[in-house]
Symmetry: C2
Amino acid sequence: MKRIGKQTLEFTTPPKIESHGAIGGKKEAGGPLAADFDQTFQDTSLQTESWEKAEAQLQKEAVAVALAKAGRKPGDLDFLLAGDLLNQCISSTFGLLDYNVPFLGQYGACSTMAQTLLMASVLVDSGAARRAAAVTSSHFCSAERQFRTPLEYGAQRTPTAQWTATAAGCAVVSTQGPITVQKGLAGKIVDLGVKDPANMGAAMAPAAADSIYQFLQDTGTGPQDYDGIYTGDLGQVGTDLLYQTLEQNGLDIRARHQDCGLLLFDCGSQDVHAGGSGCGCSASVLCGHILNRMEAGGLKSILFCATGALMSPTSSQQGESIPGICHILHLTR
Amino acid sequence: MKRIGKQTLEFTTPPKIESHGAIGGKKEAGGPLAADFDQTFQDTSLQTESWEKAEAQLQKEAVAVALAKAGRKPGDLDFLLAGDLLNQCISSTFGLLDYNVPFLGQYGACSTMAQTLLMASVLVDSGAARRAAAVTSSHFCSAERQFRTPLEYGAQRTPTAQWTATAAGCAVVSTQGPITVQKGLAGKIVDLGVKDPANMGAAMAPAAADSIYQFLQDTGTGPQDYDGIYTGDLGQVGTDLLYQTLEQNGLDIRARHQDCGLLLFDCGSQDVHAGGSGCGCSASVLCGHILNRMEAGGLKSILFCATGALMSPTSSQQGESIPGICHILHLTR
């Protein structure tokens, strides 16, 4: 691969997305993208004893579905790249343990799908892997009790709050497949001082603006060169801030932009306030809706720009702001 | 790069460790490796307001020292690869925020130094990076209150417990430098059912045995082919179990093996029970003691086998066992 401009990588023997799987929970199955999931669970405990174990199961299922669709078995994978929002990424560890595949834990908060896919692409392009899987997950109930309050408290949510998706997505990357990973960009940590953990969209928007602007600069392209520019989970508040920030830099992406957090749920009827969020949000929208549309021919060239908020409850309690990050992949059919 | 055997990568335009930095706290400065640290702090709060902020500062200092020794500035880095033990890896985020370098968060628990160095080497070897830094940290006080009990409780430690190092290590990888990264191996998650969070060495030993055995098989080499085989932080209990497990597979590594957790502290006089641990343990021993000895000529060819326990307090409270992982790098002068 080669470097273009300041931050962008261009894959020279471009890695391909061989197959992909999207798993969702009950609310996701009741949303606008229901038909794009490979599997949904009406029982959000997935018949496990805890929300954390349920989330691990989501990740396990996502890999199983993606492998099955490619006609592959776990032994065909040289690496599993995964991460999640739970402390010490236990959904990934316990969800993927049984696959017995070399494991590289990634932490990018809600940007994890883009990060794992970027690293899997680097491994395949460089010859380090013949085939690698990128996977991540989130679960509304495990995220609420870890990051906010246990569900049993019945806490009220602010209008800027987003709803953590109960979902997982997995993409299998190899040298053959219908979708090509053309380019990638690893984002910088960007912190403009937002401190409200109930407004993640605002915290992540500056990072999305920074990475999108840099990618377009590096590649000498504009929004019109893509059929879609998909951000991870900025939700309504973050999306508005992204438009404002890019406009200050002379860029208008409105005609091409969609946000995974606004696609996954119907904000009005599903009571999710500012939109969806969580690693599983952009992961399942990419590995379901977006890649399905690309394969069906509706989309030829897109940017997948997953965003993450690199905070913890401890950092917020200690008065720290919420730094964001955004990694980008350019995918074509 | 090319693949050898089942799991090993051989770097074909081998990446080099251009420089390295090791930072330690008060106890580390009083241990056998005191002279190998580039910087030590008698005030383990590093004049910050919290243990978490102190740990972030350790990481910041490690990168600063490594860059300074190479005569480089942050802008010379194409990527920062980092991770740590704190929930959502906040030491890395807040410690490295100001460097303004594309960031890829890695989570391998105490194996993080090997994982970040492996990924940095892949990025440099493939041409994705001209220069990348691998860094990680741990802090006794932040780890105790997050994983066990706040220090103020004065809890007693079991004989199998290990002492989390207050330390950080950073290696700068590029195409020039005195140390060559020859090969690497990403480990599988290995779980033999150990459930005692006060006996991490036992939990991680099977993963170390698995990865070391596989690396030697893949490369057709034996322990005698290396000047040193350094495990991450198995401590006394884990080291004994590693020997037993490898012997059952016909391998005796005793003559070449050392454990970073047993090198960093004098277990007898420093009251650390079974040895040192934490991401910062193997990171600072590698980026101080080991690389110093390689540069001075005492060691020509070593294996660095950092181990991690992929658990969280939540997973242990829910009755899960403690899966381990071990990533390996083969370094030569």
